[in-house]
Each structure stands twice: as structure tokens, then as C-alpha cells.
Symmetry: C2
Subunit: 523 residues, 2 copies
């Protein structure tokens, strides 16, 4: 364990010049050493200058080189061993098994992007060869590839200290695309961030790539975060966090002389529709599945099921009674930070003011522990009251009771954009599910049947995204290999001699890509 309290700029440990802060052990409330001082404007500018200088070199590395970097980062993270897990446990209150799983996910994600880079489909090579004899006008030789946008600012998330943080999905996909990355560490886990950052620095050195490809900064969102988004050398932003935080970054990015894309994953209540036949057939199992998903990791997941929608009646009452039973036995759990705990308390209080409490979990037995909470309202009350529609980050959920199926459909139409929407159904529900599906496709990035939304697979088909306010850019996913597309743009090359063409576009196709040539996909 080698924590210095320093930032990483140009491959060097650099002490921040602004005010320092400590990670806090939420289980004890005590500050953890060392202190982490924030970047001042000059340090931020230096990281941007180095990223900018590294960009033209890094973006023309071969797919093999870039895959090697991603795999080497995974190796270096694994080489950190228990030191990383133990520091992350201290900083987050999350249990060992969860963090070991998250580390496996983080390294698997890096290796998955390595395979994606090597497969080369992200280059989307299109070739329309010259037709010098075409009438009335000849056609030039036209070739298109995707190139990276430029240096990317990544904001670490509070709830995944590894998988959505320094070496997480945003960093992995940006590096895969060919973009240098500057991470602003989340203040909740500076030590874990430093360790992961050191792993990336070592991997860059081992791969003999420019140190400017990566930097890790500490500091406040206002100073360092806004400073990064405002720097002209930053060309895209990846963020996972609150709606207010994401919207502030979007505004800053839009107000630049050159606006840039912001991929902010912000807020979602993840509606689960308990359809009538399913509720009738397996209300007990649904209650068990629901309470398990709601309370997993103290409910601190973007895809936590915060909204249950069902038609009123005896089957719903049986479900509610069973869920209440289970919830009342659920232990209080330590939340990630005192700030997140306080926000949960405020959110739970607000919900309790506007909705009837069904059940509470067991009370807290230590600092920063949250008590699970289940409430219910009518569909009419829910729609009339924006306070009920806001995400409460943590293990709180609202049951919305509809008069009939028509009101379920109408409620679906009234929902804001979501990361996920779930249908619990049996054969008898297929007709209703068919009516709901087109609505849910317009509302969510991922639609589940007979599952629970927590648990986001890293794979080609995953979408962790969705319409506003779930994210700031409905065209994107922040999990899964399609996330690389966020950091690419097309460039067309007209009549360039082979000697000037990049390898992906050369006539001999040295990268052996399956190009789209004259409208036909190569075998």
C-alpha cells in the first residue's frame, strides 16, 4: 500500500496546491489518511496540455497497442491485490465480496474493450472507390473512418469506487477510442482512486506510451470539475452522478466557445410493472425478489427499483403485505458517505410526507446507516406530485396503485426518461405487455422481463442509458462495448494517396477489417 495523497500528472505524483480533504470511513465517521490536496488552475492546465500533446500520438497507436494498454491496466489493477480492496472497503463501507466482484468487473471491462478495439468494427470503415468514367461526373475515391474526439474528462462516481471510477467504464471506453483521459476523482474514495491511477500510470510506462494519456486530479466539482469542462483541450465528458451535478456540467459544456458532448448518467427510478397474472401467480416470489433488489448494496445503484406499478386488488395487497414483512426484517446498511446518507434521509422524509408508509427496515445501529423504506400512493397522487417522482438514492421505493390497466398505461406515458423499465409477467399478461412495450421503449434504455434491474452486465448488447433525465444523451450507453462510440467522430478522406492514408483505410487493408466497400460488407 503506497498512498501518497498526491495527484498524477504526466506520470508523476504531484501534490495539489489547493485545499485538502480526506476520505471518510462511513462506518465510523472517522477521517482516513492521507489528505488529498486539490489541483489549482495551473495544475489542471498542465494535465490538459499534456493530454493534448499526447493526443495525436496516442490516437494513431495500432489496435494491438491500445488493446495491450487496456489489458496491462487490468493486470496492474489485479497486482494491487488486497490493498485496493481494503482501502475501498474503508472508504465506502461496501463489503469485501462486493468489492472483489467489482474489481473483477472492472478488469473484465478493460479486457472486453481490448477485444472490441482489436475487432475493429468501431472504426466503421467505409470505402467508395473512385469511378473515373462515371457520367455525368466522375466519382472521387472516398474513405471514411472513425477517429477519437480528443482528451476526455471523466468524473468518478460515488457508488462504484472501481467500475465507474478512475479505471472504470468511461476511462476504459475513452482509452479504447484513442482519447487521453483526465479523471477527477470522487472525493468519497481518494485512496482507491490513487491506487487505480498508479496502476494506469504503470501500465502506460510498461506499454511505452506517453504519460500525458492519463492524469488523476483531486479537488472540488466547482473548481476542478468546471475547470476541466471549460478547458478548450477537453473534447468530451463522462459523468455518473446526481441530476444537479450532471446538468451543471451540461450547461458548462454548452456555454463554451466550442460546445462539447457530455455523457451524464443522472437519475432514474426504474419502474417495475407487476402485471396482474404475475401478481396473482407468484406474489410471494415477487416480493422476495423486489426486496432483495431494493436493499442490495443499501440501494445505492442507478438501477435500483424505486417504483412499483400495479393494478389495485387482493393480489396486490398480498404482495404488499409480504414485501412489508420482508422489508421490516432488512438490516440497516452503511451508506457510502455522510452526504449520501443525509440526502437519503431528506429524500425519505419528503416521500413520507407525500405518501403512506407501508414498512420500514430495521433501525440504524451505527453512523450513516440507512433504513429501508416502502411507501404507497395512488396513480393520481403520483402524477399530481413531482416530489414523488424524484429519485431517492438508496433503499426507498414507492408502490403506485392503479385503478385498472388503462391507468397503468397512462402512468407509463407520464413517466420521465429511465435507465430501465421492468415487466413482471405471465402468459396471461402478454396483451397488456404488448401495449406497454412501445411506451417503455420510448421511456427507457433497457427493458427487462421477469428480472430485477440491479445488475448491469458488461457485454455488447447492454444499454446503460436512456432518455433525459436518465442521461443527458439518449443516443449513448455508458456500460458495454457500445460505450466506445461516445468518443468517436467520422472523418472522410477524398482521393488521398495511399502513402497519406491511415492503415485502416489503405488500399491493401493491412488491418484486415471487414469494410463496407461500395455498399457491400466484406466477408
Amino acid at each position: 500500500m503506497n498512498l501518497t495523497g498526491k495527484m498524477l500528472i504526466g506520470g508523476q505524483a504531484v501534490a495539489g496546491m489547493r485545499e485538502a480533504s480526506h476520505g471518510i470511513d462511513p462506518a465510523s465517521g472517522l477521517a482516513l489518511e492521507p489528505a488529498y490536496a486539490g489541483a489549482d488552475a495551473a495544475q489542471l492546465a498542465q494535465a490538459c496540455a499534456l493530454a493534448w500533446a499526447a493526443f495525436d500520438v496516442y490516437r494513431e497507436t495500432t489496435p494491438a497497442q491500445r488493446a495491450q494498454l487496456l489489458e496491462t491496466i487490468a493486470e496492474e489493477i489485479e497486482a494491487l491485490g488486497d490493498a485496493l480492496i481494503e482501502r475501498a472497503m474503508q472508504e465506502t463501507g461496501l463489503p469485501r465480496a462486493r468489492l472483489q466482484g467489482e474489481r473483477a468487473r472492472t478488469c473484465g471491462q478493460l479486457r472486453s474493450f481490448a477485444r472490441t478495439v482489436l475487432a475493429g468494427e468501431w472504426l466503421d470503415v467505409r470505402v467508395d472507390p473512385a469511378q473515373p468514367a462515371r457520367q455525368p461526373l466522375p466519382r472521387a475515391d472516398l474513405r471514411q473512418r472513425q477517429i477519437p474526439l480528443g482528451p476526455v474528462a471523466v468524473f468518478g462516481a460515488s457508488n462504484f469506487p472501481l467500475a465507474f471510477s478512475v479505471a472504470g467504464g468511461d476511462t476504459a471506453s475513452a482509452l479504447a477510442a484513442g482519447c487521453p483521459v483526465i479523471v477527477k476523482a470522487h472525493s468519497a474514495h481518494p485512496g482507491s482512486s490513487e491506487l487505480a491511477g498508479q496502476a494506469i500510470v504503470r501500465a502506460l510506462a510498461r506499454c511505452e506510451l506517453p504519460a500525458g494519456v492519463f492524469a488523476l486530479l483531486f479537488g472540488s466539482g466547482r473548481a476542478v470539475g468546471q475547470g476541466l469542462v471549460g478547458d478548450p483541450r477537453i473534447k468530451a465528458v463522462g459523468f455518473t452522478g446526481s441530476r444537479a451535478g450532471g446538468l451543471a456540467l451540461c450547461r458548462a459544456a454548452q456555454n463554451r466557445p466550442e460546445p462539447i458532448p457530455v455523457y451524464a448518467e443522472m437519475s432514474s427510478t426504474n419502474p417495475v410493472f407487476l402485471l396482474p397474472a404475475a401478481l396473482q401467480a407468484r406474489g410471494d416470489a415477487l416480493a422476495q425478489g423486489f426486496v432483495g433488489s431494493l436493499t442490495l448494496g443499501a440501494g445505492q445503484f442507478c438501477t435500483n427499483p424505486g417504483l412499483l406499478i400495479a393494478v389495485q386488488g387482493p393480489a396486490l395487497e398480498r404482495f404488499v403485505a409480504r414485501a412489508a414483512d420482508l422489508l421490516q426484517q432488512s438490516a440497516a446498511q452503511t451508506m457510502l458517505t455522510p452526504g449520501i446518507w443525509a440526502a437519503y434521509q431528506a429524500g425519505a422524509d419528503s416521500l413520507s410526507t407525500h405518501a403512506a408508509t407501508v414498512a420500514c427496515g430495521l433501525p440504524a445501529s451505527g453512523p450513516n446507516q440507512c433504513q429501508a423504506l416502502l411507501l404507497r400512493v395512488s396513480a393520481a397522487e403520483y402524477q399530481a406530485n413531482p416530489a414523488l417522482q424524484a429519485e431517492v438514492f438508496g433503499a426507498a421505493a414507492l408502490i403506485v396503485q392503479c385503478r385498472d390497466e388503462a391507468e397503468c398505461l397512462q402512468l407509463a406515458e407520464a413517466l420521465e426518461g429511465q435507465l430501465t423499465a421492468t415487466l413482471q409477467l405471465e402468459d396471461g399478461d402478454i396483451a397488456l405487455a404488448r401495449s406497454l412495450l412501445p411506451v417503455l421503449e420510448r421511456k427507457a434504455g433497457r427493458i427487462l422481463v421477469n428480472g430485477w434491474p440491479t445488475g448491469v452486465e458488461v457485454c455488447d448488447a447492454m444499454v446503460h442509458g436512456g432518455p433525459f433525465p436518465a442521461t443527458s444523451d439518449v443516443r449513448s450507453t455508458s456500460v458495454g462495448t457500445a460505450a466506445i462510440q461516445r468518443f468517436l467522430r467520422p472523418v472522410c478522406y477524398q482521393d488521398l494517396p495511399d502513402v497519406l492514408l491511415p492503415p485502416a483505410l489503405q488500399h491493401g487493408n493491412p488491418l484486415a477489417l471487414r469494410r463496407l466497400v461500395d455498399g457491400m460488407r466484406e466477408a
Copy 2:
């Protein structure tokens, strides 16, 4: 010829309830009949409601149905015959042959998107089958496809009354993606717009598709344009026009409760680098090519070469003398509208204040005719003066003279984002070209060697886009088949039974798509 002066809403001709305006024949300055009254708020809302109601139906049409629609629109436009060409000539001052070519391009573009829709790659189908036995956790069945964003507002461009207007590239790509389209016609060519709109309405009827899939509105940018962008049922915007106009739409789209993507193609000076060996070897031919490209269509192209960059010396002086000769013989040409003519005069005056005039074309012999203009400045003067860097829409160009190759490179770095950048080179210029290429890739959407940027091929490999301010979204192209991607978003389906999956994702692969299954592309 069947011009009614009416809008098209729900397949019906509807008289606008706001103030009326006329197209103007720029060659005579006279108003053309009929008058076109603008949409009021209720009419605009009606078009949006119909588009919204049609969306869920239209977006689930089969690729074959959608391809048939696009081909039928092309047929119906061809069936308009000379009436369309003659009306467009009157409204734009453009010559017959140009408009015939533009019609062929428009219909070819529609048919090209029909082929793209049928090929199905735009669906980007990804399948990660369930792994129920996986340890430590099973994997669900995950399937991803692209779905359309929703109704799209398209703003017709002044300079392509057919190819970038009612049935132009934005409309064709949005319809191909599965989005209903509401076009705000450009006030410069309402009659051509009405004819093209009627063709689309007839095609929808022939294909038995909902009339709400298309609407054509007249009216001002402030009332109808901002009204469309502000309507919650509009989910994306396509625009080709001025920087001020595009930025106003971007602001409106960002300030909605639910921000939406705006694809605005705005401004570009399209730098052409005359590299030393090329200038030495073929200065005369370059002068001819340049003056031809500059004055083509009165310079009214987004890709007009408004900026020439070269190292000072005798070869440049010979080029300048020859270009001046040719330019002085170039006839004045009628511009598209009195407003565009006035803006050109103002822009040319501004350039003349800040740069030395090299040559002017022949003077005007009728209303709204522009005189070509060539000026020169030093690289230092150019960089110091933002007034020299603004696009002047029309046949005006600036020669920027550099002290040496290093200053050429430095000037390239200082350029704003561009649609195109061109290198005129010979073998002796390859080293300099290699230095310039990475810079130009960061600055432009299309890079040409030994060509001229006017002339934008409609094909798979084309990029008509580029960094801000060339466009508002560097990740996109508005010409070529990749334009369809602007109007799509991914959705993931987890564990849906086959009976609920869309055909593109069903286990039997009824659309015979080449899916990405477990990371492998199907043959």
C-alpha cells in the same frame, strides 16, 4: 402545376392562419404567386400531435415498407416533371441544368437510403445469449437494437431547394430511421417546397402509411421554427443554414425541459492549402480549378473554398496573378434571395476593409447579382482579426500568405472547425502534408487531396460535418448514408420472450440480419 399556397398537415392542404409571404424571383426582384400563410400555434401543435400519434406505428414498419416509401417519394418527385424545375428556377435564380442535377441527386439520395434501410446494418443488432450456468452469476439473455428518436423537425436550406429541403437529406435519413418529419419550409422557395411536400403526401398514401408521418409548415423561424423545437413531441432537429440560426436552435433545444439533439450545419470557410511543390508545378491549373470552384453557383455552397493558404514567394505570385485574371472575367451571378445578396455585400465590404483586394469579378447587370471577390492578407493579419475568419456566403475568398511552412502549420492549428480541408500537393509536398494531416483531421469532417471541396458525393463514405462551428454535433454527417445514425438510439431487451421481441431481435432472425452474437459477427 398545382400550387395552392397551403401547408400540408395530416395529408390535407391547410391554409396558414398567420401572416403570409411570397417567394421572390431574385432575377427580377418580383414576388411570385401564390402567397404562403404561416402556421399558428394550433396548427403547429396539430402537426406535432399527428406526428406523435403516427410514431409508434411508423417506427415498427418493416425495412421493406420503409424502403418502399423512400422509393415512392423519389418516383413522385420525378413525376412532378418540369413544373418542379421551373418553379425552383423562378424561386432561386439557379439554372435549369443545376436544378435537374439537384433533382437527380435528391431522388438518388432517397433511393440510397432505401438500400441502407434494407441492408439493416443501421439496426446494429447485438445478441448476448443467456448463460444460465455461468459462475458466479448466470447471464441473462440480452439483445440490443437501434430505434428511432421520435418526430424530427427539419429546416429547409436556402441553397438547395430540393436536396437539402423538404425531401432532402435530413428528411430522407429521418424517414429511413423511422422518424416522422415536420418540415419548416425555407421562405425562399415555398412553391418548390409545396410541390415536394405534395409528392411525399402522395407517397405516404400510396404506401398506406399514416398521414401524420409528414407535415409541411410555412412561417417565420422565430414563430414556427422555435415553436417546433420547443414542442415536447419533437425529439431531434435537422438544420442547414447560418451560424446565428443554428445556434438559436441549439439554445432552444437545450433549454427545453427535455433537451434534444440538434444537427445544425452552420458555417465553414473550407481552407485549401496550396503546398509549395504543387504551386510550383501547376499554379495555372490550380488557379483555374480554384476560380471554377469559387464561382460555381455564385459561391452559394457550404463547401465553397473561401480560404487559400500558401507560403509566400514567386510561385504564389504567379498563382495570384492568374487567379486574378480569371476572376476578373467571371460573370456576376444572381444570388438566391435579396437577403443573401445583401449579406454577401456586407460580408464582402467587411473583408475589403480588413484585407487587400486582389481582383473583382464582372459587375452586376441585374438585381441581386454578386460580383466575385478575391483578397489577400498575411497569416499574422488573418489570425489577429476575427472579422477575416467569418464565412462570407458567396463567391468571396481570402488568400492567406504565410512566411514559411511552420507558419502554415501554425495557421492550420488556429483554424476553427470546418466541413472540409483540402491539400493541393505533389510528391515533394508529402512530408509537409504528413505534418498537416493530424491537424486537419482535428479541424474538418472531410479532407481532400488535389480536388476542390464543392461537390459533395452522396455515398456511404461521405462526411458532411465537422467540428464546431461547422456543425453543432461533430459526431454526425448530414450527407451520405451514415446520416441515418443521427436519428437512432439503442435499446436493450433483457429476457424478453420471443413473442414480445421485435423481428430484428427474434431468435429465428427473420430479417436475416448479420448480428453481433456473443462478440462474433454472423456471416
